[in-house]
Amino acid sequence: MLNVSNLQVSYGAIRALHGISLNVEKGEIVTLIGCNGAGKTTTLRAISGLVRSSGGSVSYEGSDITRVRPHELVRMGIAHSPEGRGVFANLTVEENLELGAYARSDHAAIAQDKEKGLTLFPRLRERLRQQAGTLSGGEQQMLAMARALMARPRMLLLDEPSLGLAPQVVSTIFQIIREINAAGTTILLVEQNAHMALKVAHRAYVLETGEIAMEGPAQELAASDEVRKAYLGVG
């Protein structure tokens, strides 16, 4: 469904991605794990067009999207829930959700999707008219995800949904990620919390300083010595 080949990104003279290749099949959850500065967020942003790539290509459902602008991509069915949540703090929860459907104009279906989102995240329903900035961190993450789903994506790019959240909230969030996937949305998940990410994902890529170091089925990687040492803090 999504094919990234030899993708390179530079910030000025600094090369953040040295040519990475990965692919995501329809219906999968694929996770991209790695340390700080490994290039995980950059990879997602390059896929969704928020940063320009300096080489390589990205294709989605058979068409080349390397140079497609982010607002076009949303219309093609790729939604991006950015790192650090990025909720619109001064707008209400409801307005945030409506902005998630910004690229759509099918009002009836939008209302349905809002209802679906609120069923998935009941906490948000309670806070529909509250300013998003007054939500807790976990609720903001839920809002960011619900907002991304409002675009009715076939492919969801999730950037560090566990960032700065309490362990209990993290497991709720990952439970919901599973549900979203079960409902038919393909997910590319970027995570530092390798433990949780490898639990929900079907396949995984390990990113080290801008290159893919390992790849394989999530369970296999979770069992491998290298990953256990470097990312799971065991062994």
Binding site: L50, V74, H80, F88, A89, T92, Y102, L128, Q131
Partner: protein, 456 residues
Amino acid sequence: MASLQDRAAQFKPAPMGGAWRALWPLAFALIVGVLMQLVLRPNIDAYSSTQILNIGIAIILAVSLTIVNGFTGQFSIGHAGFLAVGGYVAGSLAYYGSFAFFGSGAAKLGMLSGLYGAPAGAPVFTGGEILFFVSLLAGGLISALLGVAVGLPSLRLRGDYLAIVTLGFGEIVRVLIQQTPQVLMSKEAIAEAPAWKVPLSVGGSLGFGNVPKYTSHFWVYAAVVITLIFAYRLKQSSTGRALLSIREDEIAAEAMGVRTTYYKVWGFVIAAFFAGIAGGLYAHTLGISLSPVDAGFQKSFDIIIMVVLGGLGSISGAAIAAAIVTYLPELLRTPETLEKFAVVGIPLLIVGFAMLGMAGRRSSEAELRSGRDRRALPRVIIGLGAVIVGLSALAFVAKRFNINLGEYRLIIYALALIVMMITRPQGLLGVRELWDGALYRPLRDFFAPRSGGRGA
């Protein structure tokens, strides 16, 4: 699911509703304008007339800047440049147009024009007024075109860097106007000059005082009403949401499918249009001689003060602040009159505190969830009351000690701004509106009935 279908159906506007929605603001603007001109103005003195007119123009400027600085979150400090462009374009068109059509540069006042009204027996409306109206629109449109030019750098720049670009724009306009040739004063002079040079002869640094003086309470307040309703609807529209999302988080906005580059430029264009209209009204005001200084940063800063004071992003806040910032320095000119204002200020304080008492000191959980803030309006009333009472107390003390407050007026004004910014850095209303308070729900629903979607 049936209820969803019903709610979805509400999204479709009724066919008659569309035309009504487009037309009632115009009708309302005309009514307000006519009332201001024919009912209010004849009953107030010349000085107050001028003040009220200036406040109207300031409101248009402040609300238009709110669209860039408040909604979109782009920090522009060259807004006076648009004011000057609109003013000079409209002024030049109306002045030289008058020569072309009517043989002289004088205003042809109808019943609704002129700061002090038209002479007795004036027609209901004149050809001159049509020319004036067209000139205003032309000024706004040219200004909007320049808005594109200033908006484009904002695609790559943000914060301080963008501010410098916009400052540069204002200064360029100022210097260019300074270089323009002398105003042509007669038909003969116009006939002799090369045609391309005529509209550019707007007086350079000597100023352009010959613009026919059409501006009246009618024109200004009709424009104020339209500007306010436009800004309000913009804020509620999908374009407005796009602008707000850019202010809140540009990357997230882009990830949502908002074309941030496109809307940032749009913000500038809309703001420039209304600033241009304000400029045209200003240029045609009796007693005003348009000059290059009007494009300068001093003027820009006056407008920024209004927007920041009102709360970045609040239309009503900007409008209230525009009135205060315009009127306060004038009020301080004659401090003797200030004492009397305690009569207004003290009841305001009492009413404000009573309302705040009813609303409770802190937002309850339920209130937070419903997104209402019943404290907004009482706070504004208390703020106004405190300022008025403070000033009248100051005037009273000054009189006791034989100090002429008028001499210190700008210092007092500056101190008031400093105190305000320390005690309430988010401005009068923050990003909220007066009508966000629960008290004003009915009013809000009347002005902008939201087509469904609200609440579960």
